[in-house]
Subunit: 147 residues, 2 copies
DNA sequence: GCCCCAAAAGAATAAATATGCAAACAAGCG
DNA sequence: CGCTTGTTTGCATATTTATTCTTTTGGGGC
């Protein structure tokens, strides 16, 4: 079994279902008639530039999607957010200078369906919501983030 | 030092320069007056949903960027690519049925500046290049991928 | 204050991953 | 073929990470 074929198999396995460890990967490969030790797989995974998440090895592309984790976003927001106001169907978020971008990214990925989209400047973010009531709701939730 | 502040520090450290191991992270935190053992950091990294790459721990966002690795793309392309033709400033890539998407993604991320963009169907990809000569060049490079 | 509960952290250790080194293998050349 | 050179792999092991179990910490309520 040559390097190329083995690595292709690895990619296919990882694309289809979670692979949690290198020994698990070794077993699944063996089931397909491809023998390799953990040491070899360690080298393969590096060559393929795969990353290890708590849910298994992933292609870098497969990552942005599974953003069900919000702890990181929450911390970024409370770290930089200075002031929040609702204005019509917008929420205006002020941040420490220069830090609007990371906060906006967090708002985009935190998974609140009330947030339609965001526009970030240097220290100001406009968060677009459906209507004024929703804007006020989002404002309240932002203020409540630091428990 | 409470959880929230420590995790914020972790995010900042990781955003600024590579953190290769949890013990290294522990040392850098200590240098900022924040003591924590490796066990605690293991739990923090999971809570923050960070991923481990061969170049250190990263935020999922930081990943698409460092795509200097092409081995994965190369394997995906040679696995599914069936035929390549140049036509004007386009390259037409045929793949095994249903596999145009992963190949197109690989073409998009392999980092060839000659490739302006791609459109994928079910088993066909149109690769847009600047002109006919470039299209022929890309075709040749694709054919040469399987060494 | 004291007591109780829950969350957080550490110590010890199990589990997983990376790596130095030697053996196996492959490709080219005389 | 036999020799050299470079790559790939496995084995043994060092290093790193996850987990279990225990201790500490940080609030409420009284």
């Amino acid at each position: 079994m040559n390097v190329q074929r083995r690595r292709t198999k690895i990619l296919n396995l990882i694309r289809t279902r979670p692979v949690l460890s290198q020994s698990q990967l070794s077993q699944r490969l063996k089931a397909e008639g491809c023998h390799a030790t953990q040491a070899t797989l360690s080298r393969d995974l590096r060559a393929l530039n795969l990353v290890k998440t708590h849910a298994g090895y992933k292609l870098p592309d497969q990552l942005g999607a599974n953003g069900d984790n919000t702890e990181r976003q929450r911390l970024t927001i409370i770290q930089f957010m200075v002031e929040v106001q609702a204005a019509g169907n917008l929420v205006v978020v002020r941040t420490h200078p220069g830090n609007a971008s990371p906060v906006a990214l967090s708002l985009d990925t935190i998974g609140w369906k009330e947030i339609v989209g965001t526009v970030a400047g240097d220290d100001t973010i406009l968060v677009v919501t459906a209507n004024a009531a929703t804007a006020r709701l989002v404002r309240r939730r932002l203020l409540a983030l630091n428990n």
